[in-house]
Symmetry: C2
Subunit: 323 residues, 2 copies
């Protein structure tokens, strides 16, 4: 049986009216109490009556989430975590895909902002200037990009890129190719910057590349021609495509070339060889983004910046440099 507002009140040790306010007028409840009530409500599976509450608040209780490409497996874990976290706070999330097209992104932002209480902008391809201009009607939170005056959730991919390159140099690789991502990608810029700043590396940057297996397949000949024995790819899809293409040309991974991806998608774990990768905390980023967005919606925006750590997962696609 579904939990009632009384169950939530009892379990969190507050009055029923406090539970009610937590959902209908959260700015009137102190942050600690609100946090406790929400946690209990999530545990018990309590769902307030949306229609009744919308009448009193004028809020849609919908959030928009805009992503660059829904078919990139990087995004679904972020989307699903954001969605589950929002749902527990009684918000629905509607997703729109920009197809990596800044014009479509702008259109979608303008349309969505009229229908939701706030927007999560994930890996935007628009320039910061345009994002700032569009940020008018409702609160925004930006994931994977720094935008002035806007709450931001970053995954520290620069740190991950450093870890990956140090891992490669530790294995004796000196000439290292970095496969950059789409132009306009903040992540790609961070990776290039971090790689260029790492000492003792003979770095070649190849790109921009489409952030897909096809992007990896398309850059195979350039990688071979570069003479690099270590590769850091923009993401796991590019790494998987590259490895497939290298095998077709008789180049073995990791015996001849070591390859590191970024993201830690499921396909990388199932790939043969299993992919060494920079794990991105996508689910945590999705939840954090929802938290910051609901803070903005309920208490007004503060340009908080949350930076989440990345980590290197060593599997089978990296090994000692060939002699």
């Amino acid at each position: 049986m579904a939990a009632t507002i009384r169950d939530v009140a009892q379990a969190s040790g507050v009055h029923v009216s406090t539970v009610s306010r937590t959902f209908s007028a959260p700015h009137l409840v102190n942050a600690e109490t609100r946090g406790r009530v929400l946690a209990v409500a999530e545990d018990l599976g309590y769902r307030p009556n949306r229609a009744a509450r919308a009448l009193t608040t004028g809020r849609t209780h919908n959030l928009g989430l805009i992503v660059a490409d829904i078919s990139n497996p990087f995004f679904p874990p972020l989307i699903k975590a954001a969605q589950a976290h929002a749902r527990a706070r009684d918000y629905h999330v509607f997703v729109a895909d920009t197809d990596e097209d800044p014009q479509v992104e702008e259109d979608l932002i303008q349309t969505l902002t009229k229908q939701v209480d706030g927007v999560l902008l994930c890996s935007p391809r628009l320039s910061n200037r345009v994002i700032e201009r569009l940020h008018a009607d409702v609160p925004f939170v930006v994931v994977n990009r720094r935008v002035k005056g806007m709450p931001t959730v970053l995954m520290d991919v620069g740190q991950g890129a450093r870890l990956a390159i140090e891992h490669l140099t530790g294995l004796g690789h000196h000439r290292i190719a970095l496969l950059s991502g789409p132009s306009g990608s903040w992540t790609s810029g961070e990776m290039c910057e971090a790689a260029a700043a790492t000492a003792g590396v003979d770095l070649v940057i190849l790109g921009p590349n489409a952030p897909t297996e096809q992007g990896g397949l398309a850059v195979v000949d350039e990688v071979i021609a570069s003479g690099a024995t270590g590769v850091l790819a923009y993401n796991d899809l590019v790494a998987i495509g590259l490895i497939g293409g290298l095998y077709e040309r008789g180049v073995r991974v990791p015996e001849d070339v070591s390859v590191v991806g970024v993201d830690d998608i499921v396909s990388g774990r199932l790939n043969r060889p299993k992919l060494t990768t920079v794990a991105m905390p996508t689910a945590a980023a999705g939840r954090m983004a929802v938290d910051l967005l609901l803070q903005s919606v309920n208490d007004g925006a503060t340009p908080t910046r949350a930076t989440l750590e990345t980590s290197l997962i060593v599997r089978e696609s990296t090994g000692e440099a060939p002699r």
Copy 2:
């Protein structure tokens, strides 16, 4: 430079006002002319002014698309095709993910229907009875399910299952395991029915299984215990998980066991061995669903049913039955 309404009018040989009506009041333009104008507009990348048009029509020009699980790679090609097709007709598509949860699905339908002109329901897990009850405010089109009185787009997975089983029997496999999908899945029911109706097969149905790699990994021991030498999996993810799990137990594919998937996702093409699979026309289904939905939005619903053919793609994961 962006195409203007004049460019579209000239290229399609109609007056400017006809182009305008095609977007603002399509029911006043005959179907042939409307088709021509839309095709030209798509080619030229023409975009009517949404805000101006919404004022005169009272339409949102948004469509909702509800899917069972956005992280299942079956859905993104359908979503992206629907989205591109809708965008060319000046509709935005907002996606919501039900997490395979019928209760969430019902909530999302009720929320979305208030904000869009029509809803595409893909692989619903709700019962037909509930779908019929919810189908009140705006037109629905259902993909991958037959629902009475509602426009439907089906992919003939029964035909594909027959082809797959005939392929296996042709290779000398007699004992065949069918790995079914989630309960409530129409696709799974169609596959079971078709497999059971195929002559000369010693069929064992194992399931229900989660429609994921984990689902495939979890059923490995049952497959081995069943003595089947041929397997038809609910989808490619299940097939990929199964193959990985079989390898870990020293069972080779296709030397010891042949495996066929369903969907033809990219990971199947990159898998080693490359996956034999029933290709589902997901992109075509997405476009067809948008066409039927816009017909309902503009001309009123007619319970059309479009059934798209599936095909078998033979790659490396199937071979002759062991002696």
